[in-house]
Symmetry: C2
Subunit: 238 residues, 2 copies
DNA sequence: CGTAATCTTGAGGCTCGTCAAAACAAGTGG
DNA sequence: CCACTTGTTTTGACGAGCCTCAAGATTACG
C-alpha cells in the first residue's frame, strides 16, 4: 500500500466524481479534501484489521474490498464486499472505536482515505449530511440483522433457502436469478456454513429441481418449494 | 395492551423525566408529545412483530422487553433486553421499513409510543438530535456485530468463552462477575446454542475451575484460561 | 406452600465439519 | 495458442459435536 502524492485540486476532482458527496457543498468538500489521501492498495493487502483503531473512513474509487471477522483457528466469517463508489468505516469513525472487522483488497484498488475527525467535524454541522449518514448506518444495521437471521436457521438447507430467498423480486415470480459476487466460499461462511456443505446443499437443491447452479450463475426455479424448505426445515423428501 | 388516556401535560411530564430527551428543547418535546401515547403492555404481549411495519418508536417507561428473531420450527434467536429508560425502533422508523425482530414484554410494562413521522420530522431539523440518534444507531450496529462474531465461533466452548470475555473489565484482573439479565435460555440462543448445550458448557468450565456458576451469578475465576479456550478451541484437556 | 417456569442432567441419533484429493476455472508467461 | 501455475469448487469418507427428546432438580412467584 502506498500513499499517492496528490494536489488539493486532484483530490477535489476525485471527490467531485463520487456520488457519495453529491449533497456536499463546495466548502464542505474542500474541508475534507484537505485532509484526504488517495491510497493504492495491492490485491490481498489488509487495509483495516479487526481490533485496530480506524482513524479514517474509506471510499473505494476503483477495485473492491472483502470484509470478514477473523476467527481463531478456523474459517473467517465473511461480511460482504464493498465495490467502487461505496464506503466503509463510518460507524467506527463516528464512535471512535476499534474496527470490528478486517478488510482486504480483492483486486489492486484505489481508495480515498478521509481523516475521521475532519469528516465528523463537517458532517456534524449539517442536518443534510447527518441524515445521509444516519440512513447509511441504519441500512448497514439492517443488513447485519438480516445476516444474523440467516445464520440463525437450524439446518444448512434452511440457511441456504433463507439466503436465496432474499433475492426474490417483488411479485410472485417463481423463477429468479441470484447474484453471486465474489467467491462461493464467502457466501458459505457468511451464512455460517463451510464451503463444502454449501456446495453439497446446492447440488441437493439442484437435483430436486429447486434451482439450477452452473458455475457463478444460480437461478431459483421453484420459489414456492424454496419457501417450503425454509419453513418446514427437514421435511422428509428433501 | 391498552392506550392510556393522557393529557398533553401528562405526556410532557413523562417525557421530561426521560434522559433520552435531555438534549431536546421545549418546542421539540412539545411537538412529539402531541403525537405520543402511553401504552400499558401486559407481560407476554408481543408489541412489535418481525416483518410488520413499525410506525412508532418506543421508549420503555417501566418494565422490560425481550427481543428476538423468530425461526420457523425452532428456538427463536434472542437479541437482548431493553429496560427502563431505553428505546427501540429508531432504525426502522428512520428507514420506514418492516421490523426485523419481534419484541414481547417480560413484565407488565408502560411504554411511550412516539409517532414515527413526527419524530423524524423533529430530529431531522436539529444537528444535535441527529448526532444523538446517529450515535445510538451506530452503537446498535456494533452490538449486533459483536453478537455475530460470538456466534461465528466454531465450538460451543469457544462461543461461551467469547461471550463471557466481553464482560472482562479493563486491566488484567483474572476474576470478574458476568451480569446475567433475563434467562439463561436467552443467552444460549443469542450465541447460537440450545439451553442444554449452554448449561453443559458452564458445568464443564466450572469443573475445571475457569468459572463459578451459582444460579444467576456467573463469576469468571481464570480469565487467562478463558482466553486460551477462546483462542485454542478444542485443545485437549478442556 | 403449591404451581409454573426455568435450569440441569442423561442418552442417542444425525447433521455438519474435517481432512484429503480430484475436477474445474482463471490468469500468466512462453 | 497452449502448457503451467494458482486458486476455487466439488466430491467422498469419516468422526465429533451438537441438537433432540425426555425426565428430574431447582428456582421463582403467587
Amino acid at each position: 500500500m502506498r500513499v499517492l502524492q496528490t494536489t488539493q485540486a486532484q483530490r477535489l476532482e476525485t471527490i467531485g466524481r463520487l456520488r457519495y458527496f453529491e449533497h456536499w457543498n463546495a466548502q464542505q468538500v474542500a474541508a475534507i479534501a484537505a485532509t484526504a489521501n488517495i491510497l493504492a492498495v495491492d490485491k490481498g493487502h489488509e487495509l483495516v484489521t479487526r481490533g485496530k483503531p480506524l482513524n479514517s473512513l474509506y471510499l473505494v474509487i476503483t477495485g473492491e474490498f472483502r470484509f470478514f471477522v477473523p476467527i481463531p483457528g478456523g474459517q473467517a466469517r465473511s461480511l460482504g464486499l464493498v465495490g467502487e463508489g461505496r464506503s466503509f468505516g463510518e460507524a467506527c469513525v463516528e464512535l471512535a472505536i476499534n474496527c470490528p472487522y478486517s478488510g482486504v483488497a480483492t483486486t489492486n484498488s484505489h481508495v480515498l482515505a478521509i481523516e475521521g475527525t475532519a469528516f465528523k467535524h463537517e458532517v456534524h454541522k449539517s442536518t443534510r449530511l447527518l441524515s445521509q449518514l444516519l440512513a447509511l448506518v441504519a441500512n448497514r444495521l439492517m443488513s447485519v440483522m438480516n445476516d444474523l437471521e440467516t445464520c440463525a436457521q437450524h439446518s444448512s438447507l434452511q440457511r441456504v433457502a433463507c439466503y436465496l430467498g432474499q433475492f426474490q423480486p417483488p411479485g410472485d415470480a417463481s423463477s429468479y436469478a441470484v447474484p453471486i459476487e465474489g467467491r462461493k466460499k464467502d457466501i458459505a461462511t457468511r451464512i455460517g456454513l463451510t464451503p463444502e456443505t454449501f456446495s453439497r446443499v446446492l447440488t441437493t437443491l439442484e437435483q430436486n429441481g429447486t434451482l439450477s447452479s452452473k458455475g457463478k450463475v444460480i437461478t431459483v426455479l421453484d420459489a414456492a418449494r424454496l419457501r417450503q424448505i425454509y419453513l418446514n426445515g427437514c421435511e422428509p423428501g428433501y
